[in-house]
C-alpha cells in the first residue's frame, strides 16, 4: 500500500477525503500530495514516496515585495494534482509528463497560470489582486462590480463592521465612509445616530438617508454587526435615483449574510464590554461651593442665607462648628455624578448556523446583547433572530425567504428640562459635601425654611439626582418583524424576472413609571409615601407592505457592447394604530407592576387619568422605474435611470414625481495608450447628473382635518369637569393643498483608481447638490389663525470634495500593514430663503429665561446651524463707573446693557447699588456694542458660532503580524463651533431651586461681590474691595435670572478621536483544527480610547437631536443635557466550527 487513504468515489469517501485534503493541504502541504488514479479515485500519499518517473517542478513563490508566500495553492491545470507552498514559499510538484499549466492561487492575489514547458524550476512573483475593484457593490435592485460603477458609492465590508464591537453598526461605520458624516448621540444605551450624507439636503423635511436592509426600509439598530455582509452607501443621483422619492439624502444599503452551500458552518461571536465614563464635569469643591452658594444665597435673600449658614455652621450661625467655613477646606468632594453614572458591563452573544446544498441554502442567526447603561437604571437589551432560506425550485427558479425579528427593551429616557438639562447632566449641582461631613445643624434641612421649600434637589439625599434617577423607570419595548419572500426566475438566458413581497410589523410599548420620590409624593416630615407614583402607558402597532417586481435583461449586441436593462414597479403601503393611557397618583400600596396591571386604580380625587387612541395616516407609494447599463469594450460605461413615484402625501395633481439620472464612466486604464503605463492598474473617470426627491412630511399635510385633543390643557372644563374636545390636527399649521415634491439635483464628478500594483487605491469625488422646492415650514402672519404653513420654498446646496485612499504600505511574510483614510470637505449653504421664512429660531434650553429667545438664525448664503448671540468682552469693572457711597453710576460713554439682557439680578438694590434706570454693575457681563449706539441691546446680536465643520473624516491602520492583528480607527471633525449651553446654564442664577445648587468649577473664576473674611460673609462695596477680590476674574457674576447666549458659550469643536483600537490573535489553523474548531480569534478592543480636543464639555460630538424643544429648524451643534460617552474595554471571541 503506497497511499495513506483512498477516495473511491463513494459518497462518504468523497466527503471525508475532501476534508482531510483541505486540512492536509493547508497544514502539511509539503509532506503529502494527492494523485488521481483511474476511475476518479484519488489517493493521498506521503510526498517522499512520489513516483520517480515523472518530472519534478519546484520553485519559490514571492509577492511583489519580495517576501515569500507560504500556503499558495499550486495546481496542475485540469487535474487534481497539486500542492501548497511551504513556510518558505517553496513548492515541489511531480508532473506526470512534464507538460501542462500550473495554476497558482492565493487569496487576495491574482490567479496566475504558467506553462510548465518541461521546466523543472518555476519561480513566480504573485501579483496582488486589486480587491476593491472586483468587489461586488449593491446598487438598487441589483449588484454591479465596483469596476463597473458609474456613480459615487462608498462601501464597507461586514468584516470591518464586525471588527468593531458596538451595539449599533452605524458606530462601526464612523469615519470609514467618505462623504458620510456619522454622529452618535452620546453614551446612552440605544442612543440615536445621526447620519448626514454629503451634508444633507433638506432643512426641515428630514436629512436622514434611506436605510434599506436587504432592500427593505429598516433601522440600523436592529441589525447586529455579525449579520452584515456589506454596507454600501449611494451618494449621487445616478445611483440613488432608482430609489426616486426616497433617495434624496442618500441611500444606505445593508446586505445581510446568506447561507452558502457546503458543510454546515457554525460561528459564535461574543464579547464582554466594560463601559467607563470618559469624563465627569468638574464642579466646585466643598470650600469653593460653600463660598459661592453662601454668597449666592445672601444675594437672593436672608431667608436663603440663614438656613444655609445653620446647616453648614457658617458665619453668624456657625453653632458648634467653631471653625466655620475653614473646617471644610480640605474636604474631599462628594461627587453625585459618580453615583448617578458609573462603570457598567455589557454582553453580546451572536450565533450563526448556515449551510446547505446547491439546491437549498439556509442561514439562521440569533443574537442577544445586554448593554447596561452607565447611568443607574438604564439599559438596552436586544434579542434578534434571523432566518434566511434560498431554495432552487427548478433549474431556473429560485425562491428566497428572509425573515428577521428583533426585540429591544430599552430603559432610558434622558429628557431635558429648561435650564438644568437632564437629571444626569445636572447631577453635579448636588452639594459636594457628604451628609456625614456636614458640620452644622442637619435639622436646617427639614425645618420650615427655604431649604425645605426649594433646596431639596440640591441638598437632600432623598431627592438627589441619584435618588430621583433610581425612582424613574422609562421602559420602552419594541419588537420588529420583517419578512421578505422573493422569487427569481431566469426566463431565458439573460432575462430575469424578480418579485419580492415584503411585510413588516412593529409593536412598541412605552411603559414609563415614575415613583413617589421622582414626583414628590412624599410627606417629607414623616417620610410617608402619599402616592406610589404615576404611569404613562402607550402601545403602538404599525405595519408595512411592499411589493416590487423587476424584469432584468442582460445581453450583448456584439463582443464589445454589453447591455443590462432593468424595469420595475413597486407599491407600498403602511399604517398603524396607537393607544395611550396616563394615570397618576396611585395609592401608596401600589408599585410599578401593580400599577401597570391595574391602571384604573389611580386615586381619582388627587389624580387624573387620560386615555386616547389613534390610527395613523396611511402612507402609500406607487412607483415605476427603469435602468439601462451599457458598457462598451469595458471602457465606456453608461448608466441611465428613471423613476416615477406617486405619493399619497400630495393631492392628486401633485402626486407624481419624476426622477431621471444619467452617468458616464471612462475606464482610462483600459485604453491602449495606457498599456505601457505600468504603474496604473486601474483608472476610471466618471460624471453623473440627476434628480431625486423627498416627500418626508407628515401624511395628510395637504388637508385641514380635526383630531381628538389628548392634552387636558386644550380641553375646557365646565362645572370643574373636563370636557372632551376636538382641535385641528395641526392647530398652528395651515394646510397647503399645493404641496409637491422637494427635489434635489446632484452633480458628481469622480475618479476611482488603483495604482502601483495595488499599492494605492481610492477615489476622489467632487459634487454639487442643489435642493429646490424645499418642503419648509414657512411663517404666515398669525392674523390667519395659524403661525405657519408647509410650502415648497427656498433652496439649499451642498458642495464638496471627498477623498478616500487606502494603501497596503508594507507587506512581507510576517507583516501586513494597511492604511486607509478619508477626508471630506462639505460646504452647506442656504441658497435662498423665501420672504415668508422667519429665519430666527431658538433652542429654548433655558425656556423663557433665555436671551435672545431666538439663538439660531438662517441666513441665505450661509450654512444651517448659525448661533446668534452677544459678544462677551469681559465684565464691567469699577473703572466703568463713578462711585458714590455704594452707588455705581456708569460713566458717560460706557454702554449699559438693556434690562432684557441684564434680567433680574439678585443681590443688587436699585437706587442703592445702581441708579434707577441703569442695569450695569461691576461684575456683570459686558458685551460688545456692535452697532455703536451706546447701549447693548437686541441690535448688538450677531452670528457668534458656525456649527458646520470645515472638514471631517477618518483614517485607520490595520496591522497583521503573523497571527496577530491590530486595528486603529480614527475619526475627526475640524473647524466647527460647539454651542456649549451646558456651560451657559451654569452662568445664570435661577431663583429658588437654583439658589443652593453647586456650580461648574469654572465659576471659581467668576466675579465676586461677596467674599469671606475671617469666616464671615462680607458684601464687597468699594471699588478697592471689588478690584482686590477680582484680579483674576474672567467670568461674570452669575446672579442674573436671565440666561444669555454669548460668545462665552461658543467653543471650538475640532476633535480627533481614536474611536476603536483592536488587537486580536487568531489561533493557527493547525492548532484550532486539533481541538476541533474551524477558526478561533480572540481580541481585545477599546472604544473611544482617546479624544484630542480643546472642547471643555463632556464630549465634542454633540447634538444628535436636531430639533431641541421642537425648534422650527435644526439646532445643530447644541450641547445640552448630554449623557456622557463611555470609554469601553472589550474582550471578545470569534469562533467558527
Amino acid at each position: 500500500m503506497n497511499y495513506l487513504y483512498k477516495n473511491t468515489g463513494g459518497t462518504n469517501d468523497k466527503k471525508s477525503f475532501a476534508v482531510i485534503k483541505l486540512i492536509l493541504l493547508v497544514a502539511l502541504g509539503t509532506l503529502f500530495q494527492f494523485q488521481s488514479e483511474a476511475a476518479g479515485h484519488e489517493v493521498l500519499k506521503p510526498s517522499i514516496k512520489a513516483s520517480a518517473v515523472s518530472t519534478v517542478v519546484e520553485g519559490v513563490v514571492k509577492d511583489s515585495t519580495g517576501a515569500t508566500l507560504p500556503g499558495v495553492s499550486v495546481l496542475l491545470k485540469g487535474t487534481k494534482i497539486g500542492t501548497v507552498t511551504d513556510i518558505n514559499g517553496k513548492y515541489k510538484l511531480t508532473i506526470p509528463d512534464g507538460t501542462g499549466k500550473l495554476v497558482f492561487s492565493y487569496l487576495g492575489y491574482i490567479n496566475t497560470e504558467i506553462d510548465i514547458n518541461n521546466r523543472t524550476k518555476i519561480d513566480l512573483v504573485l501579483k496582488e489582486e486589486s480587491r476593491a475593484l472586483n468587489e461586488v457593490v449593491v446598487i438598487g435592485y441589483g449588484t454591479v462590480k465596483k469596476r463597473d460603477l458609474t456613480g459615487a458609492v462608498a462601501s464597507v465590508s461586514g468584516k470591518d463592521i464586525a471588527a468593531v464591537p458596538v451595539p449599533n453598526i452605524a458606530q462601526a461605520m464612523q469615519g470609514k465612509l467618505p462623504g458620510v458624516a456619522i454622529n452618535s448621540q452620546d453614551g446612552r444605551p440605544g442612543g440615536n445616530i445621526n447620519i448626514l450624507i454629503r451634508g444633507g439636503t433638506s432643512i426641515t423635511s428630514g436629512n436622514q438617508p434611506l436605510i434599506l436592509i436587504d432592500g427593505i426600509p429598516g433601522n440600523l439598530n436592529d441589525i447586529p454587526g455579525d449579520q452584515v455582509e456589506s454596507v454600501d452607501v449611494l451618494k449621487d443621483a445616478s445611483s440613488e435615483a432608482i430609489y426616486g422619492s426616497r433617495g434624496a439624502n442618500g441611500v444606505i444599503l445593508v446586505t445581510t449574510k446568506s447561507g452558502k452551500a457546503g458543510k454546515p458552518m457554525v460561528s459564535y461571536n461574543g464579547y464582554v464590554k466594560i463601559n467607563t465614563p470618559a469624563k465627569y464635569l468638574q464642579q466646585l469643591d466643598p470650600y469653593d461651593y460653600l463660598t459661592y452658594v453662601w454668597a449666592n444665597a445672601a444675594a437672593n435673600a436672608t431667608a436663603y442665607q440663614t438656613p444655609f449658614e445653620i446647616l453648614y455652621g457658617l458665619g453668624a450661625n456657625s453653632g458648634k462648628n467653631t471653625g466655620g467655613i475653614e473646617s471644610y477646606r480640605n474636604l474631599p468632594t462628594y461627587d453625585m455624578q459618580r453615583q448617578v453614572y458609573k462603570q457598567s458591563v455589557s454582553w453580546n452573544h451572536a450565533l450563526t448556523i448556515s449551510g446547505g446544498t446547491e439546491q437549498t441554502k439556509v442561514l439562521f442567526s440569533a443574537t442577544y446583547s445586554d448593554d447596561e447603561g452607565m447611568k443607574i437604571q438604564s439599559y438596552q437589551r436586544r434579542a434578534t433572530a434571523a432566518f434566511k432560506l434560498s431554495h432552487k425550485i427548478s433549474n431556473n427558479i429560485t425562491f428566497d425567504l428572509n425573515t428577521r425579528y428583533a426585540n429591544t427593551p430599552t430603559l432610558d429616557d434622558e429628557s431635558t428640562t429648561s435650564g438644568s438639562g437632564s437629571i444626569l447632566s445636572s447631577a453635579y449641582r448636588f452639594r459636594p459635601i457628604a451628609t456625614s461631613d456636614i458640620l452644622g445643624d442637619l435639622t436646617a434641612l427639614t425645618a420650615s425654611n427655604n431649604i425645605s421649600q426649594y433646596g431639596k434637589n440640591a441638598l437632600w439625599d432623598n431627592y438627589s439626582a441619584a435618588a430621583r434617577a433610581a425612582d424613574y423607570d422609562p421602559l420602552s419595548l419594541s419588537s420588529n418583524f420583517v419578512g421578505v419572500a422573493s422569487l427569481n426566475w431566469l426566463i431565458i438566458k439573460g432575462l430575469t424576472y424578480h418579485t419580492d413581497f415584503n411585510m413588516n410589523g412593529s409593536w412598541s410599548q412605552r411603559k414609563y413609571w415614575s415613583g413617589a420620590t421622582y414626583n414628590g409624593f412624599i410627606n417629607d416630615a414623616t417620610g410617608a409615601v402619599l402616592y406610589a407614583g404615576n404611569v404613562d402607558y402607550r402601545k403602538n402597532d404599525s405595519w408595512g407592505l411592499r411589493w416590487a417586481n423587476t424584469l432584468a435583461y442582460e445581453f450583448n449586441i456584439d463582443r464589445d457592447s454589453h447591455f443590462n436593462i432593468l424595469a420595475g414597479t413597486e407599491v407600498s403601503n403602511s399604517g398603524g394604530t396607537g393607544i395611550s393611557i396616563q394615570a397618576n397618583h396611585f395609592p401608596s400600596n401600589f408599585n410599578e407592576q401593580t400599577a401597570f396591571a391595574q391602571i384604573n386604580q389611580y386615586d381619582p380625587v388627587a389624580g387624573t387619568a387620560t386615555f386616547s387612541s389613534s390610527v395613523s395616516y396611511p402612507d402609500r407609494l406607487e412607483s415605476y422605474f427603469g435602468r439601462l447599463l451599457y458598457s462598451y469594450k469595458d471602457k465606456y460605461l453608461f448608466t441611465a435611470t428613471f423613476r416615477a413615484d406617486a405619493s399619497s402625501k400630495f393631492t392628486e395633481g401633485n402626486r407624481w414625481g419624476y426622477f431621471p439620472a444619467a452617468a458616464f464612466a471612462w475606464r482610462v486604464s483600459q485604453e491602449s495608450f495606457m498599456k505601457n503605463v505600468s504603474w496604473v492598474d486601474d483608472f476610471k473617470l466618471r460624471v453623473s447628473y440627476g434628480a431625486v426627491g423627498n416627500n418626508n412630511i407628515a401624511a395628510g399635510a395637504y388637508a385641514q382635518t380635526w383630531g381628538a385633543v389628548t392634552d387636558p390643557r386644550s380641553q375646557y372644563d365646565i362645572n370643574h369637569t373636563l370636557l372632551p374636545a376636538y382641535q385641528l390636527s395641526t392647530p398652528s399649521t395651515l394646510a397647503n393643498p399645493n404641496l409637491k415634491w422637494e427635489t434635489t439635483i446632484t452633480r458628481d464628478a469622480g475618479t476611482d483608481f488603483s495604482l502601483f500594483h495595488g499599492k494605492l487605491s481610492g477615489s476622489v469625488d467632487l459634487y454639487w447638490n442643489t435642493t429646490r422646492d424645499l418642503l419648509l415650514i414657512t411663517t404666515i402672519p398669525p392674523i390667519t389663525g395659524f403661525n405657519n404653513t408647509l410650502a415648497n420654498v427656498g433652496q439649499t446646496s451642498n458642495r464638496g470634495i471627498e477623498i478616500a485612499v487606502s494603501a497596503p504600505i508594507y507587506r512581507d511574510k510576517d507583516w501586513k500593514i494597511n492604511v486607509g483614510g478619508n477626508i471630506n470637505f462639505n460646504r452647506n449653504k442656504v441658497d435662498q430663503l423665501s420672504n415668508n421664512v422667519n429665519p430666527l429660531y431658538g433652542a429654548a434650553w433655558a425656556g423663557s429665561a433665555q436671551y435672545p429667545a431666538s439663538d439660531y438664525i438662517l441666513i441665505a448664503g450661509q450654512p444651517v446651524g448659525l448661533v446668534r448671540g452677544l459678544t462677551y468682552i469681559g465684565t464691567y469693572t469699577p473703572a466703568d463707573f463713578n462711585y458714590n457711597n455704594g452707588l455705581y453710576t456708569l460713566k458717560t460713554g460706557v454702554p449699559d446693557v438693556s434690562s432684557a439682557i441684564a434680567g433680574v439680578m439678585h443681590g443688587l438694590v436699585t437706587g442703592t447699588d445702581r441708579p434707577t434706570g441703569q442695569n450695569a454693575y461691576p461684575g456683570m457681563a459686558k458685551y460688545a456694542d456692535l452697532n455703536g449706539d451706546g447701549k447693548i441691546d437686541d441690535n448688538d446680536l450677531s452670528v457668534i458660532g458656525n456649527t458646520t465643520p470645515k472638514f471631517t473624516g477618518g483614517f485607520n491602520f490595520n496591522v497583521n503580524y503573523k497571527n496577530f492583528d491590530l486595528g486603529l480607527n480614527f475619526n475627526y471633525s475640524v473647524g466647527n463651533d460647539i454651542y456649549n449651553a451646558n456651560k451657559l446654564a451654569g452662568l445664570y442664577g435661577a431663583k429658588e431651586g437654583g439658589v443652593y445648587e453647586n456650580k461648574l468649577a469654572i465659576l471659581d473664576n467668576a466675579y465676586k461681590i461677596y467674599d469671606v473674611e475671617n469666616g464671615q460673609l462680607v458684601r464687597l462695596r468699594t471699588p478697592d474691595q471689588l478690584n482686590a477680590a477680582n484680579t483674576g476674574a474672567t467670568l461674570p457674576l452669575a446672579y442674573s435670572e436671565t440666561a444669555v447666549t454669548s460668545t462665552l458659550g461658543i467653543e471650538k469643536g475640532t476633535f480627533l478621536r481614536l474611536n476603536t483600537a483592536t488587537i486580536g490573535y487568531t489561533l493557527p489553523k493547525i492548532l484550532s483544527s486539533k481541538i476541533g474548531i474551524g477558526s478561533l480569534r480572540i481580541y481585545g478592543s477599546v472604544y473611544n480610547l482617546l479624544t484630542l480636543t480643546s472642547y471643555s464639555g463632556l464630549d465634542p460630538e454633540v447634538s444628535v437631536n436636531d430639533n431641541a424643544n421642537s425648534s422650527t429648524y435644526p439646532t445643530r451643534g447644541l450641547d445640552f443635557g448630554a449623557y456622557p460617552r463611555a470609554r469601553s474595554f472589550v474582550m471578545g471571541v470569534n469562533l467558527n466550527f
Binding site: 426566463i491 382635518t705 402672519p781 390667519t784 434690562s899 437706587g911 434707577t916
Partner: protein, 682 residues
C-alpha cells in the same frame, strides 16, 4: 415560441401587480376627521368650541398681557424689583422686545379663527338655517352665537392690547394685508353680535352656565364694545387715513406718533352701550348681583362671590367665568389664583399651602386711604398677611419680591379658603376666575348713564355700595362730574385686583392725571414715614414704619368677618378674612404644620405706636415683636417709584399701554404695517 410566451408572461406579471387605481393613493385616517364629522351634532360641535375656551385660558389670557392688565394702574402694582415682567404695566412698553406679546397675539387670532371657522360651518347646517329662519332659539343657534361671541371677544382683547390690528384674514393664506381701524372693527363686531344674540340662551337656560358664553354675556359684551369704542384711548397719528371719517377730541399732546383722544360722536356709542347693558341685566337669566349671604361664618355677600370659586362652584354673579379643573396633571390651568392670589411661601408641592406668587399688590395709599372703615370689601379684597407654607400665617413685607415679600397682597383668591385646600401642587387648585360679573355691568351702566345725563345713574351706583356696606347708610347723592368721579372710584374699590382699573383710567380720559396723582400720594406717604415715622390719611387711618406682632392661637385659625369689637380686642381677627386653614386636619400635610400658634395678632397697623413709647414697651412685654412695616417701603421707595406707572412723567402725555405688533406682522406686510406709539419695529 416558448421564449415568446415567457416574455409575455413576465410582462403580464409585472403589470398585473401594479395597482393603477387612483383611489389607492387617496388616503384618509379615522383619527383625522373633517368639518362635517366634528359638527354632526350639537354635542360634537361644542367639543370643538371647547378647544377655543381652553386655548383662551391656556394661551391667550395668561401668556403675556393678562400679567400686566391688573398691575398697571393707580391701585395695583407688580411687587418685584428690576423685573421686565411689568414693563407694560409701568407704561414702559417701548422697552419691551417687539415680540414680547407675540404668544398672546397669536393665540387670540388662533382662537378667533377657529371660532369663526365653526360659525361658518354651523351657518350652513340645515338644522341651524331652519331654526334661524323660524327665529327659534335652539342648541344650534346658541352654538352659532357662542362661536360668534368668542370670535368677537378675541378681537376685543386684541384691540385693547394692540390697538388697531388686521381684521378679517382668518383661515386663508394671506399675502396682502393691512391694519384696520379699531373703530371699524368695533362696528363690525357689534353688528355681528347683534345678529347672533337674539337666538342665544340666557344664563340658566338651555344648560348654559356662566362658564360658557351666553346671551347674557353677549349683551354685556356688545355694551362693552360700544363703550370702549366711545371712550378715551390712545390712537395713532402716524397713519392719517387709518380712521377714515371718524373725528376726535384730543386729551393730550401728540407724542410718539399717537394722541390720547375719543371720537367726537362718542355719545352715540354710549347710547348703544346703555341699551346693551340694560339688555344684559334683563337677559341675565339666573345671574344676579349677590346681595344675600346665608353663611353662618360671615355676612359678606361681596366675598360670597369669590367664595364660590374656592368652593369650586360657578358664581351666580358671574356673566362669564373661565372654567378650570383641580389637580390637572399639567401646570398653568390654575394660573390666575397662583399669580393673583393671597401669597404663600409654601413649596411647589405638598405644602400648607403651596406657593402662591401673587404678582398683584395693592398700593398702600389705596388700602389705607380710600376704603371706608365700614366697607366690607377692603379685607375681602386685600390682605396684609400671607401664608408661610407650614400652616402659619405671616406678615407680608414691603421688601420688593414675590410671595410674602412685595407689599399688601390680593385676597380675592386664597387657597386657604378652599374646603379642603388643594395641597398636592402649586398652580393646580382648579379655581375658576371670572371675565365679567354683574357688579361690573351695573357700574358700567352707571358710567354710561352718568355720561348720557340719565338721572338714575346714581341708583345703579348705590346698588353696589349698599351691597358692599350691608346697608344703605353709605349711599351717595351726587351728580355731574362728582357722580362720574364717584362711579370710577366705586369701580376701583369694587373691582380691585380684577384687571379693570387700568381700562377705567384709560376710558375716562384721566389716565395720566391719575397716574401723577398716585405718584404724589405715595411721595407724601413716604415723606411722612421718613420724617415722622407715620402718615395719617384723610379717613383717619395711620400707616407707620413699624408694627407689633405676636403669634397666637385661634380655635379656628381661618378668620372671616370680624365683629366690630374685634378691632379693639382681637388683634388676630382684624383685619378680617385672613388666618390659615387648619392644616393639621389634612393628612397629606399635617406633619408639615409647625407649632400651634398659627395666627398673627397685629398692633399698630392703623394707628401710630411710638417705638420708644410706653405702649410699645408694654406690647413687647406682652410678647409682641416690633416688626418692619412702612420702613421697608421707605428703604425701597425707588423700586415703588419704578413699579407704579413710572412711564407717565407728565399729565399731558398720551399713555402708551399697547404692546408692539409681532415682528412677523411687520416683516411680511410688504411695508404696509409699522408699529406705532414709538414701539420697536423688529
Amino acid at each position: 415560441m416558448k421564449t415568446y410566451k415567457k416574455y409575455i408572461a413576465a410582462i403580464a406579471l409585472c403589470l398585473a401587480f401594479t395597482d393603477c387605481s387612483k383611489n389607492y393613493l387617496n388616503v384618509t385616517s379615522p383619527s383625522n376627521v373633517d368639518d362635517n364629522f366634528v359638527t354632526s351634532t350639537t354635542t360634537e360641535t361644542f367639543k370643538s368650541l371647547s378647544w377655543c375656551y381652553a386655548n383662551y385660558r391656556q394661551n391667550c389670557i395668561m401668556s403675556s398681557y393678562r400679567w400686566n392688565d391688573p398691575v398697571g394702574s393707580d391701585a395695583e402694582y407688580y411687587p418685584e424689583s428690576g423685573s421686565t415682567n411689568n414693563l407694560n404695566a409701568q407704561l414702559h412698553t417701548d422697552l419691551l422686545p417687539v415680540d414680547y406679546a407675540t404668544p398672546g397675539f397669536t393665540a387670540l387670532y388662533q382662537t378667533l379663527a377657529l371660532a369663526s371657522r365653526l360659525a361658518n360651518i354651523i351657518a350652513t347646517k340645515p338644522a341651524y338655517i331652519a331654526d334661524a329662519a323660524a327665529g327659534k332659539t335652539s342648541d344650534w343657534t346658541q352654538l352659532y352665537g357662542e362661536a360668534t361671541t368668542m370670535w368677537a371677544f378675541c378681537y376685543f382683547e386684541l384691540i385693547q392690547h394692540f390697538g388697531d390690528v388686521p381684521y378679517g384674514y382668518e383661515n386663508t393664506v394671506v399675502t396682502n394685508y393691512a391694519l384696520s381701524s379699531r373703530f371699524d372693527i368695533y362696528d363690525n363686531l357689534i353688528s355681528a353680535l347683534q345678529k347672533a344674540e337674539p337666538l342665544m340662551y340666557p344664563i340658566g337656560t338651555g344648560n348654559i352656565g356662566a362658564d360658557r358664553m351666553s346671551r347674557s354675556f353677549c349683551d354685556a359684551l356688545i355694551g362693552e364694545l360700544a363703550l370702549f369704542s366711545g371712550g378715551y384711548q390712545t390712537i395713532r397719528t402716524d397713519m392719517p387715513a387709518l380712521y377714515g371719517s371718524v373725528t376726535f377730541t384730543q386729551k393730550s399732546n401728540v407724542a410718539n406718533g399717537c394722541v390720547y383722544a375719543r371720537r367726537t360722536d362718542y355719545l352715540k356709542y354710549y347710547a348703544i352701550a346703555k341699551t346693551w347693558f340694560l339688555n344684559a341685566i334683563s337677559n341675565a337669566g339666573t345671574a344676579h348681583l349677590i346681595t344675600v349671604d346665608t353663611r353662618t361664618t360671615s355676612n359678606n355677600p361681596f366675598q360670597r362671590h369669590f367664595q364660590y370659586f374656592h368652593d369650586l362652584q360657578v358664581s351666580p354673579e358671574s356673566l362669564l367665568e373661565i372654567g378650570n379643573i383641580q389637580g390637572g396633571t399639567l401646570t398653568t390651568t390654575s394660573e390666575y389664583p397662583y399669580a393673583f392670589g393671597r401669597p404663600s411661601d409654601g413649596g411647589s408641592s405638598n405644602a400648607a399651602p403651596c406657593k402662591t406668587f401673587d404678582a398683584l399688590r395693592i398700593i398702600p395709599t389705596v388700602y389705607y386711604g380710600e376704603y371706608d372703615k365700614a366697607d366690607h370689601r377692603r379685607d375681602a379684597s386685600a390682605t396684609v398677611t400671607a401664608s408661610n407654607g407650614d400652616g402659619n400665617e405671616k406678615m407680608v413685607t414691603f421688601v420688593p419680591g414675590s410671595k410674602s415679600a412685595g407689599g399688601i397682597a390680593t385676597n380675592k383668591w386664597d387657597e386657604n379658603r378652599m374646603s379642603p385646600p388643594y395641597v398636592a401642587a402649586q398652580r393646580n387648585s382648579g379655581m375658576n376666575w371670572h371675565i365679567l360679573r354683574m357688579a361690573d355691568v351695573i357700574l358700567m351702566l352707571a358710567e354710561v348713564k352718568a355720561e348720557l345725563g340719565d338721572g338714575d345713574a346714581i341708583t345703579y351706583l348705590n346698588q353696589v355700595r349698599a351691597r358692599a356696606f350691608g346697608n344703605v347708610n353709605h349711599n351717595l347723592a351726587v351728580s355731574g362730574q362728582a357722580l362720574k368721579d364717584a362711579i370710577y372710584e366705586e369701580r376701583k374699590l369694587e373691582l380691585l385686583g380684577e384687571g379693570q382699573r387700568r381700562w377705567d383710567m384709560i376710558r375716562s380720559g384721566t389716565f395720566s392725571t391719575r397716574a401723577i396723582a398716585v405718584q404724589q400720594d405715595m411721595a407724601a406717604l413716604v415723606a411722612d414715614l421718613k420724617a415722622q415715622g407715620y402718615h395719617t390719611f384723610a379717613n383717619g387711618n395711620v400707616m407707620s414704619n413699624y408694627i407689633w406682632i405676636k403669634k397666637v392661637a385661634l380655635t379656628n385659625p381661618l378668620t372671616y368677618d370680624c365683629a366690630s369689637t374685634d378691632t379693639l380686642t382681637n388683634f388676630a381677627a382684624y383685619p378680617a378674612w385672613r388666618g390659615q386653614y387648619n392644616y393639621s386636619t389634612l393628612a397629606a400635610v399635617s406633619a408639615k404644620v409647625v407649632g400651634t400658634t398659627h395666627n398673627v395678632a397685629i398692633q399698630g397697623l392703623f394707628t401710630y405706636i411710638d417705638p420708644a413709647g410706653p405702649v410699645a414697651a408694654s406690647l413687647v412685654a406682652a410678647g409682641y415683636t416690633k416688626t418692619n412695616w412702612g420702613i421697608d417701603l421707605v428703604n425701597n421707595y425707588t423700586v415703588y417709584q419704578q413699579n407704579i406707572l413710572s412711564g407717565i412723567l407728565t399729565a399731558s402725555d398720551p399713555p402708551r399701554y399697547y404692546y408692539a405688533l409681532p415682528s412677523v406682522i411687520i416683516s411680511t406686510s410688504n411695508g404696509k404695517i409699522t408699529n406705532g406709539y414709538g414701539l420697536p419695529q423688529q
